[in-house]
């Protein structure tokens, strides 16, 4: 197993954070990876600036799942702060192509529309397994 043992989920809505954690953890069950959650933008910015917000280091993160609609800070701001070597999958309810293009320009690896369909959820699962598996 590599040192990248965690998936970091940045999501401020508690129910969705729990739901996505369970979905991803279930998908990565065979690999033993864990999902760790940050529920606000300020802490996410601090974490990617090198401050000790979580018990883990940035180097232990294999994938970031980022919700764009965080209440305190724009998800795009956080995206710009994340190092290019960490893959980022954006989760957003916004289907606007301009937002998607902006996210991809800022370094997102993939863009998933939350709640669009089960096919979209499966696409997210496949992406997570591809990156972490």
């Amino acid at each position: 197993m590599t040192s990248k043992r965690y998936v970091l989920l940045i999501e401020d809505e508690k129910f969705q954070a729990t739901l996505f954690s369970k979905i991803i953890e279930n998908e990565l069950l065979d690999f033993g990876y864990r999902v760790i959650t940050l529920d606000n933008g300020r802490d996410a910015l601090k974490f990617f600036s090198g401050e000790k917000v979580l018990k883990i280091e940035q180097s232990e993160i294999g994938l970031v799942l980022l919700d764009l609609a965080i209440h305190d800070i724009s998800g795009l701001q956080i995206l710009a702060k994340i190092e290019a070597k960490i893959p980022v999958a954006v989760l957003s309810a916004n289907e606007d192509t301009k937002v998607k293009e902006e996210a991809m320009r800022l370094g997102a690896s993939e863009y998933f529309v939350k709640g669009k369909s089960i096919e979209e959820l499966n696409r997210l699962r496949e992406f997570v397994v591809k990156v972490m598996g």
Partner: protein, 70 residues
């Protein structure tokens, strides 16, 4: 055994996911239909504006009337 549990959990999580986001899909569909209606029938746009203005007028008159009584 673990694979069965994983499959079961996957199905349950899909149900929860679907229920959670159903309202979002319905909301998007209704908004789309409303936008289409406005696009196909520009008069509806004016009618809605008039309804809003009339409502503001009625409620502000009522409030002013009540304030005057008090």
């Amino acid at each position: 055994m673990q694979q069965d549990e994983k499959k079961l959990a996957k199905q349950e999580l899909e149900k929860i996911y679907d229920n959670r986001f159903k309202w979002l899909q319905v909301g998007k569909m209704l908004r789309g239909r409303f936008a289409d209606s406005l696009h196909n029938n520009p008069k509806l746009n004016w009618v809605l504006r008039l309804v809003i203005i009339a409502n503001i007028g009625i409620w502000s008159s009522l409030i002013l009337f009540i304030l005057k009584i008090l």
